[in-house]
Symmetry: C2
Subunit: 206 residues, 2 copies
């Protein structure tokens, strides 16, 4: 080990943000403690205020980053040129993969938006609507061609997101009910890439 003990390859600011992310994601704004973030980063509490002026500002950096991770993922794929069923498949696979790597993200985002819905205004929709428009056209076209049943874009999107996000958000509950061990749960989520895709396509296919 030629590395120093405390994350020596990252500069202080990066280490602070990494620790802040970890603590805020798990405990939320109200539950997180600056002391705990400082300890995790291996620095002093005063340093947090030196780099980020206040807890609120440090939190905002973490929240903004989280929002940018969870929202554009969807529109990027929805706006692409893939055929409908392929698009649904890729969306589900990519989204579950992103969530596997950020298990605390859904509850973190939803809890903080529930506290303060105004946090939404900064993040929702730029070219989101363009991507939705594209997906809307895909669905209308597939309906006209008799490929899928008479459904609507809202139902399809909300149901896909539900099936991807909830099993991540409710991990402790689901693993408790079905007696799935901590380290098996990732395999379960991995298997859902396939099963959710099949579930959704079968539900809308004519």
């Amino acid at each position: 080990m030629d590395k120093k003990v405390i994350k020596p390859d990252k500069d202080t600011e990066k280490r602070i943000l990494d620790s802040a992310r970890k603590i805020f994601h798990k405990k939320g704004l109200a539950g997180a403690r600056m002391q705990e973030i400082a300890d995790d980063a291996g620095i002093n509490k005063a340093m947090l205020h030196y780099y980020y002026r206040s807890k609120e500002k440090l939190f905002s950096a973490v929240f903004q980053e989280a929002a940018e991770r969870i929202f554009p993922e969807v529109s990027k794929i929805l706006g692409s040129e893939l055929p409908l069923f392929e698009k649904i498949k890729v969306l589900i696979e990519n989204y579950i993969e992103m969530l596997k790597q950020n298990m605390y993200l859904p509850i973190f985002i939803l809890h903080e938006i529930q506290q303060d819905p105004s946090r939404l205004v900064n993040i929702i929709m730029e070219d989101e609507s363009k991507a939705f428009m594209k997906f809307f056209q895909d669905i209308e076209k597939a309906k006209a061609e008799g490929i899928i049943i008479n459904t609507d874009i809202k139902t399809v999107i909300v149901n896909i997101l539900s099936l991807c996000i909830f099993p991540v958000a409710a991990k402790p509950v689901i693993s408790g009910i079905f007696n799935i061990r901590e380290n098996e749960y990732m395999d379960y989520l991995e298997s859902r890439k396939k099963s959710v895709t099949e579930f959704v396509i079968k539900a809308i296919k004519k």
Copy 2:
């Protein structure tokens, strides 16, 4: 008005619990303030400690009650004698109805369990497993009879719960994205009783 100003028909303890539920559900354990609960109940802060010894104990009462509202609802229906598709329909309708009347419940429960997973041990499973066993038999029977595709109970239950719970938990986000006004969202959830039932049954029907 022959009633007094501050909820006179309920005794103090009940009023405290009502206010505590309201505040804790919205803000969580860490974010809630005893002062705010006292104000909402129209009493003094000291009274909270008179009836419930501490914030933690008051919170526990609220959490326990919430858990009892959100979990047994499922097993009650899963353990019933309804035919499979009818059982799924009733489960979805009842669950969405319960959630409509308790919009903050999902995030509250999931956020607090994320904070402290040990809260689960007190609440999960008594005769839950008996109900699951019954539903498992329903599904195996329907498979054997060629009525539904080759699926498993875990997929079916997790997907149903996902489709019911997530749209409630993510209300601020979804209403923001699709531009649904506050008071229209309840109608949307109401309409999902039918659409989710159809979605699920079509997905598993042979």
